[in-house]
Structure formats: structure tokens, C-alpha cells
Amino acid sequence: MPEFRETTLSNGLRIAAEIDQRGYSAAFGYFVRAGSRDEVDRESGLSHFLEHMMFKGTRHRSAADVNRELDELGGQSNAYTSEEQTVYYATVLPKFQDRLIDLLTDMLSPILDENEFATERQVILEEIAKYEDQPPFGAFERAMEVHFGPRGLGRRILGTAESIRTMQAATMRDYFNRRYRPENIVLAAAGNIDFDALVPQVEKLTEDWSDRPDVAAPEKDPDDSVPLGISLEPKIISTDAKQAYLVGISPGPSSRSDDRYAARVLGSVMGDEGGSRLFWELIDSGRAEVATLWPHEFMREGAWFSYMVCAPEDVKSNQRLMNDIIQSTLEKGIQPEELKQTLNKATAGAIMQSERPSNRLFGIGSRWLTCGEYLSTDDALDCLCKITIEDVNQAAQKYLTTNPTEIIAEAEPSAATH
């Protein structure tokens, strides 16, 4: 069985590791409490822009050195930014632990060079343009903005073309010093880890992290306006789109809520791809390309998403079908066979996931960062398998009775009214 070990360094940086010496690989990731919800208007898109800049050089390494060394260590490495955190991770052979930690840790002290900043601004603008050509992406982004408001948790991760074009490197430096403080950061590890070597190495490498200058919190944005470049229209016109993309969002359980396991089971019974209630009615019959719903847990809030993709002329009739399925679940509840099937599937899924340290890393790091809690695969399965039909039915009453905020992306707004 894997062993869990953790420690807090003298500068406040936390380390959490699930160690299994039988593993072929070792996965590491820095999880930073810096996401779009931590930004103000003039910082919109900064967490994500900063994530890119971490690959652009340090006092000890040029941008080319960083990329070259990551490749020399042979593993899979990358980074991502969400509403609540930024994560830098890599999976390597265990023999490269020492070199990878040296590199990843150094990357987290970027020099934020002005020339690199100007070049990378173009890459971010390309990334924004890329997603503009994908109708579902815009629909999900808009759903978050309308439901949670365009500031805080609803703030879009990439920022707007306007905010990125006008972004200053100095603003980024302030944001970095404000958010990338050791007490806001967790180093997580999974797999074949040498924990006893890891801790002193990181202690030494991060010695000066507590010297980062204090930066005052930025002035709050006005509550009575919409940020530049943002629209809260529930309809998005996607010229040329063949299909209509409908996203619904309403409250769901947070990552600390006791309901979250029951909600996950409910999501699976209702919306899993292959074998759920929505699948049989809408997908298997060819009425829609996608028809699903699921809970998404954030730190202090939760969202319940629904998502449908179909021909624009079928939106209305499919929405009625989806609502009928939800109504019937609310009235009659779920069946024992459905619960059993979902739990069997989830158990097998967790066992398969657990074989790759790179899969385990994200759950361990996020949970330790946001809740200071560790759940082994078996702990999580225990929580799931205790769920009863009553728990699931209660979750349905709690989460499926709210009218969702709905966003539709399609070619012509009139097409859906047939």
C-alpha cells in the first residue's frame, strides 16, 4: 500500500506525498493558490499569463534552458491555470527526481523579462483566438460569468484580448509577489518518491521565498459595472456553427460539502457517457450529440453543469426531454441497480487511475492545498460506497430543483425557436 507523508517547511511551504516504491515513475507538481478568482479587472488573465512566463527564464536559466532541461529529463511536463489554482507538474523516471525538483523549483522564481513578456503576449492572444473558434468553450466561459458574476469565481481564465493587450510586466510582478508566497503553495508528489531527500532539497532551494516583498491588495473593482470586453448576454452567435451548444449552470456541492459523493453518484446515474438516463433517452436515440450533467466542486462554492449539443431545431424538444428525465428522477428517485452499477464502475475506475502516479498527483495536490486533507484511493472508495439511495435522492431534491442559468451558442439565434 502507498504511504502518505507530509511536512511544512520553515518558510510555510507545504509538501504532501503519496509514496509507492514499486512505481516506475515519480510525479511532482507545484500547486499554487493563484487563479482567475484572485484577479481584479486590470489583472484579468494574469494568473494564466504568469503560468506561461514561468517557462521563460530565471536568474539561473534562460527560457531555452528551461524547455531544454525539461525535455532532457524525458518526462511529461506541463502547467495549467484554473479559477482557483495554477499547477506546474512533471512525471519522470525516479532517477531524475533531484534534477527535476531543482528545475521546477527554480522555475517558480521567474525573472519576467520584458522582451519575453512581449513575445508571450502574442502567444496568449493566439490562444484566445484559438478558443474563439470553438463554440463550446465560449458557452462554458459565459455560463461561469453570468452565474458567478464576471469577477471572482466567474472571471474568465484567459482574460480578454483587451486586458492582455494592455497588460504590463510590472503588474505581473506585483501579482506574483502577492500570490506566489510559500504559504500559498503546496509541492505534491506521487509514485516512487525519495521523500527523505526531497524535503531538505526543497528547504534549501526555497530559502529566499519568504523574502518576496509584501504587496498591498489591489483596489477593488466597482460592483456596478461590467469589465471591459465582457458581455453577459445569454446567447452567443457562432457564425458557421452547425450544431447548437447549450450550457446550464446552477449551485452544486463545494469541495468541503458532505453531499459531494452523493452528488457525484447522481451525476453518474443521470449523465454518464454510456448507460445513464440522459444517455439512453438522448444520445442512444441520436437526438443529441451530447446530453449530460455533472457537479463541479470549487473550494467554497459548487456548480451543477448541464451540457447539450444538438441540431439547432431540436434544442426545444430536447430540453423538454431533459427536464422530463430530471422531473421523473425527482418524483421516483433512482433504482437500486443504477446505484450498484455506478458504484461498480467508480470502484474499477479508481483502481485503474491509481496505477499511474501522474493520475494521482492532481487529487493529492489540490486537496492538500485547499483543505489540508489527504484521501487515499481506498478512503475515497469507502466514502463513495457508503452512499445510499436515500442520499442520492436527497441530493437530487437539493440540487436539481433550482432553475439553471442557461447559455446557448449557435449560428443564428432564431433557429432555436422552431
Binding site: 516506475y24 527560457a63 525535455d71 502567444v123 484559438k130 474563439e132 442512444d284 436515440s285 483502481i351 485503474m352
Partner: protein, 418 residues
């Protein structure tokens, strides 16, 4: 640590490959039958995919819903789909479920109900998928590129065409199934925590007395150099390009592949570094090898805003054509470490091993062990790459773009508008 691969051919021609991976808790199977896209009549594009869908709508003692319930209760994570040569079914699961899964999949391919009252639903499902793909500009570009690169038959998309799918009758489904679903030329590969003798017994019971059938060789690739442009008001210009290359089974394949690795594998690779990192021209730029049994190609993609599209295409092709200039052994070494790390980490996944074994066997006509592949990679020298690439420089580009304006493409006629 790797185990040898056992290779058996049943009396009816089905090849069975087994690799025990006793350190895992899972097992996976990959079943591949020569019932892929190339067996479709030209006017029925999409038939092989539709048959793949129909055979999973009930088989043996199971209805469509029973099948899904049985798979979920066994904890099977599954996928299925067609490629040029094959229809493939992949299933990974806790290892205890493997014997039941083998017999379940034998039922699916041997005793499908092909329920005629579900044909319309399955047809609608196929059309939904096709339309959703139309909304992805990258997919549209790469699909057309493949058609141009390989020509009729080999270039066909597995999604088919809307007119093809509309015309398919129940008789077409039955006849395609009768002609192409049989043991001849089939490959069943199994990896994971299994006892090879027990597995072989199970396979013999499930497939040993399956009927044989006739096979057809793939036709030769027949694409020519050309340029096509799709006009669109998209935010980015999406650029796809391809040129001829040798297939996996060619003795020089890894000389080609290593060159492509230096160009596009990793964050220090030339395309990523010189097109994105140094010039900020795009977010995505990539190129990689693709292999059929009797032909191959290098396929590349870049997405960028229209005003920078010409420069992006020019710089990208320039880098490919100038691979041999200042090529260094450190570039080759980085690629080697990446491939070797990947091979070692493949030992963590039975699913990935099962599918690699099946693909190696099809391409080479024999299994290839991880150790053999490792030594092949290790033996490559810079001179090998230089010799191969100077004798076979990229030429006869097929180029497809989608965006507001066409581009100037080297040595090709005016674009054909779509």
C-alpha cells in the same frame, strides 16, 4: 522489468498476443478485426462505423442496455472505433474481470442482434458526430488533408459522409458484418495481471470455433501535391500540411521518426521553440508521423491569426526543410530520453501495452518487445538521420487552410476553393 510476449495463432487465423504484467491490479484487451473503413463501398462512407455501433446494440443473451450494465458491473473502461484497416475494441478493467470480458466481447462480435428497429437511432447518432466535427476547424482541415494525402479509399474519414450515412440500409449492415467480421487477420492482444495459460483457454473457448473469411489488401496511397482553402470568418487561420513518408515497418522508419522528434517532440523541439517560443506566432504548432501498413506521411498543423498566417507557414516549412542544418547530438539525446522514459512508463498501463502490441503486430507481422524497441532507439546516430533525410527531403506538400484568406504555398498551383 518486462515480461516476454506470448504469440499464438488459433486454427482459424486469429492472432493472440499475451503479456503478463504481474505488478498491476488491472488487465486490458484490444480486439482488432479487419473490418475498417477501406472495406466500405465508395458510396456508403460511414458504413464501417455504423456497423461497429450496431453490433454493440445487443448480442447473445444481452439487450443493448444489458450489455452496458454488464460492462459497467465488471468495471470495464471501454472504447471502440474504426480506422482504415480495422474495427477495434479496447477494454481495461480490474484483472478479475478479464475472463468474463473476453466472453462478452466474443458475443458482441460473433452474435450481434443488429436490431433493425435501432438502425435509425444509430444513423442519427452518426450524423450528430459528423456535424459536431464540422464545428471544429482543426478537424475539418486535418480531415481534408488526409483525403488529399492518401487519396481515395486510404484517405477516407472514419466518420463517413452525410450522404453515405443517409443511404445505408439494414441489408448493407448485415452484408458488411457477414463479409468482414470473422477471425481471419484478427488480432486479440491482452496485457496485465494475467495467467497466460488461463487466458489462452478463455480465448480458445470464446473464439476458437469462430468462422474464417476473406481478406483484402489495402490499396496503394494515391495522393498528389495540392493546395485547398476553405473560406471562413474564423478568428484564426488553421493550417494543415502533409508530405510523403515511409511507414512503421520500413527499416529506416526510426531515422524519419527521430528527425520528426527533433522537429516537434517536446518543448525544446524546433517547431515549438522557433515558431512559438521565439516568434510568438501561434499557440499550437505540431508535426508527427502517421503510418498505414503500406504507406505513411508526416502531418502538421498550426493555428494562428490571419495576419500572421503566411509567416507561420513559411517559418514552419523552412524549419522542416532545414532540419539538417546545425543538427546536434544533444537534440537526438533528448528525443531518446523522452522515448525511453515513455516506454518504461508504459509498464504502468495495461491498456497502453495491449494497444501497442496489437499495432506493432499488424505493422510488422510479429510482436516487438519493449527491450527490442529500446535498443533500436539507442542505436540511432546523427549520421543515420542525416543520411535518411538528405536522401528523402520533404516534398510534394499537400496543404489545406481554413480562414478568411488563402495563403501562398510553395511550388503549388492556385488554391482550389471549397
Amino acid at each position: 522489468m518486462t515480461s516476454p510476449i506470448q504469440c499464438h495463432t488459433l486454427g482459424n487465423g486469429l492472432t493472440v498476443l499475451i503479456q503478463p504484467m504481474p505488478w498491476l491490479r488491472t488487465a486490458a484487451l484490444s480486439l482488432n478485426l479487419q473490418a475498417g473503413v477501406h472495406r466500405e463501398p465508395a458510396h456508403l462512407g460511414g458504413l464501417s462505423s455504423l456497423v461497429c455501433e450496431m453490433i454493440q446494440r445487443g448480442a447473445g443473451q444481452y439487450s443493448s442496455r444489458d450489455l452496458v450494465a454488464a460492462q459497467d458491473n465488471l468495471g470495464i473502461d471501454r472504447n471502440s472505433g474504426v480506422s482504415t484497416a480495422f474495427v477495434s475494441f479496447g477494454a481495461s478493467m480490474p484483472s478479475d474481470s478479464l475472463p468474463a470480458a473476453i466472453s462478452l466481447y466474443a458475443d458482441i462480435v460473433r452474435n450481434p442482434h443488429l436490431p433493425h428497429d435501432q438502425l435509425e437511432d444509430a444513423r442519427m447518432m452518426a450524423i450528430q458526430e459528423l456535424r459536431a466535427m464540422e464545428d471544429e476547424p482543426t478537424h475539418r482541415v486535418m480531415r481534408r488533408l488526409r483525403e488529399l494525402h492518401y487519396g481515395e479509399v486510404l484517405g477516407r474519414s472514419n466518420f463517413g459522409t452525410e450522404t453515405g450515412i443517409q443511404q445505408i440500409t439494414q441489408d448493407d449492415i448485415r452484408s458488411f458484418y457477414q463479409t468482414n467480421y470473422h477471425s481471419s487477420g484478427g488480432i486479440l492482444s491482452i496485457a496485465g495481471n494475467v495467467d497466460p495459460t488461463e487466458v489462452l483457454d478463455c480465448v480458445n473457448t470464446a473464439f476458437g470455433n469462430w468462422r474464417t473469411g476473406s481478406l483484402e489488401d489495402l490499396p496503394c496511397p494515391s495522393g498528389v501535391a495540392t493546395y485547398e482553402h476553405f473560406e471562413s470568418s474564423s478568428s484564426q487561420t488553421h493550417i494543415g500540411f502533409a508530405f510523403d513518408a515511409i511507414p512503421y515497418s520500413h527499416p529506416d522508419y526510426f531515422k524519419l521518426r527521430a528527425g520528426m522528434g527533433i522537429l516537434s517532440d517536446g518543448m525544446s523541439s524546433r517547431l515549438f521553440d522557433r515558431v512559438r517560443e521565439q516568434r510568438g506566432l501561434c499557440y499550437t504548432v505540431t508535426a508527427s508521423c502517421h503510418s498505414l501498413k503500406n504507406g505513411g506521411g508526416v502531418f502538421g498543423y498550426a493555428g494562428t491569426t490571419p495576419e500572421r498566417a503566411q509567416e507561420t507557414l513559411d517559418v514552419t516549412l523552412h524549419e522542416i526543410e532545414n532540419l539538417l542544418e546545425d543538427m546536434s547530438s544533444s537534440e537526438l539525446d533528448r528525443w531518446k530520453v523522452r522515448i525511453e522514459s515513455g516506454l518504461i512508463m508504459e509498464q504502468e498501463s495495461s491498456a497502453s501495452r495491449a494497444s501497442s502490441m496489437a499495432s506493432d503486430f499488424y505493422q510488422l507481422g510479429r510482436p516487438m518487445t519493449t527491450i527490442e524497441l529500446e535498443s533500436l532507439i539507442e542505436s540511432l546516430r546523427l549520421e543515420d538521420i542525416r543520411d535518411y533525410w538528405s536522401a528523402n527531403p520533404p516534398k510534394d506538400y499537400r496543404v489545406v487552410t481554413l480562414g478568411p484568406d488563402p495563403l501562398k504555398v510553395p511550388a503549388s498551383p492556385q488554391p482550389t476553393a471549397n
